[in-house]
Amino acid sequence: MKDFKIINIIASLSDIKDNPKILTALDIFKWRLDDKDFNEGSIQESISKLKKSKQEIGVVCCSLKQIESVESFAKFLYIPGYLCRQTDILIKASQTQLPLFIEKGNFLAPNDISRLLNKVSHNKISIVETGSSFGYSDNILDLRSLYILKENAIIFGVNLSSLYGKKSKTYPHKAKWTNSYNFYEAFILGSQALGASFFVIDNQKNLHTISEDKVLEMQNAFSVEQNYV
């Protein structure tokens, strides 16, 4: 599927320790400024393939138009963090009755997550923690946020890629030491301890990527108890 960009959502089931389930949310619409590989002609081709696919594939959606164009065949929708306060998008996404993965924007205080959820009319929602803005081009994982999600019985996971940050076109003064795969173990273990049900990896080619093998290797080191949506 070379014309697809992929966000893999690694969702672990309690009785499948060694084979965590992997969901795929596809980027079929161009929504990143630094996406040099986007091919306009591939949208229809992607939609055509998705309609025929029997896999549990979702779609990253950034507008009402995009939701409308995929709601009949997507298995779930993935809403990026910068849209988490856009009321019309949340309402439209929930009207599809599809399961939703909604990123918590890095600008949103954790205690405002409930207000985000108030805009959604069904409960098939997983919140994706992307970290909190900590200076330019840097998101940090605030465990207080995970605690709040857990205490409010919200199913949640963590976007590991957003914590790593972008390799290209970052704020020029960003400390390079903050971009290290070595931190992933801490993110995963810390998130798990506080109840994370899944992890998201952004496999967009010209952003950073971590191989699925590496993540599975880390996940095999511990068990997961929660169910995903």
């Binding site: 619409f29 306060r85 890095n106 600008f107 205080a109 205690n111 405002d112 207000r115 108030n118």
Partner: protein, 279 residues
């Protein structure tokens, strides 16, 4: 000249220019036509008295309220009718903001400036819609988590598609939860890249969500921050003004009442006039 050889023209008689500051101001939400006319008229007269080019601003749809219970405004159809009326009655250029690519097309028929909200400053659909409209200036607000360098990428994206009438706005940056600070380096970075640079004085003092789900703010900080921005160097200042901010349906703690707005405008004029003696 600004980036990509743009001459800074907003409308027939209103331009961004090196020795003056454009004032973009009006009520946060276009609650009623009467409010828009009253505030617009007041600001037009004050700006004329102080020698500022003036652009009226107001939103017809606050589509990203923190709380689902908060009012959004008159909506696209009614809002654009009112803005059109204000433009005609007051003979002022208009700025309004958009939250979808469809709204870009509708709003551009009535607005001299289309504003891309901060949260959406990297939204491809909206930017691409903005790239293809003519005779309308595109104003992009910098998101609270972005550096100036990253905002410039959005402007460059428009430039590559031939849209060279672009202004960029600093509106404060995340400083922990429920708080914003202003990094004046951003203004310098944006100006060095030759973009028309605006400072948003009333949003920069917001405390997002700090009021138990409502955004509150530090209105008394607007004047000092605006003075610092003007002294640093900007091409325009953006302010929200309401005849009675306590009764405003949005941003009641950051909008300026007419008296404070006059105070801010007079301070800007003093700094502008002082700087011009040195240039």
């Amino acid at each position: 000249m600004f980036k990509n050889n743009w001459n800074g023209k907003i409308s027939e008689n209103i331009f961004f220019s090196p020795h003056n500051i454009v004032i973009i101001a009006g009520p946060c939400m276009l609650e009623t036509l009467e409010l828009g006319l009253e505030i617009g008229s007041f600001l037009k007269e004050e700006c004329k008295r102080l020698g500022f080019p003036y652009v009226f601003k107001s939103s017809y749809d606050k589509a990203n309220r923190l709380s689902n219970d908060s009012q959004r405004g008159p909506g696209l159809e009614q809002g654009l009718k009112w803005l059109s009326q204000i433009k005609k009655d007051l003979d002022v250029p208009i700025l309004t903001d958009v939250h979808s690519s469809e709204h870009v097309i509708n709003a551009s028929q009535f607005s001299d400036v289309i504003q891309v909200p901060a949260f959406l400053c990297q939204d491809i659909e909206i930017l691409e819609a903005c790239a293809h409209i003519e005779d309308t200036v595109i104003q992009i607000k910098k998101a609270q988590w972005l550096s100036a360098e990253e905002l410039i990428h959005s402007a460059e994206y428009l430039g590559k598609m031939g849209q060279n009438k672009v202004t960029l706005v600093e509106r404060g940056v995340c400083f922990g939860y429920n708080n914003l600070s202003v990094d004046f380096r951003s203004l310098v970075t944006l100006q060095r890249q030759k973009y028309a640079t605006i400072f948003d004085g009333t949003h920069a003092v917001q405390l997002p969500g700090a009021g138990n789900g409502k955004t509150i703010g530090l209105r008394d900080m607007v004047l000092p921050l605006v003075k610092a921005a003007v002294a640093t160097g900007v091409d325009g200042v953006f302010l929200e003004v309401h005849k009675n901010p306590k009764e405003a349906l949005s941003d009641p703690e950051t909008q300026l009442d007419p008296s404070l707005a006059t105070n801010v405008l007079e301070s800007i004029a003093r700094i502008r006039d002082g700087i011009s003696k040195w240039v």
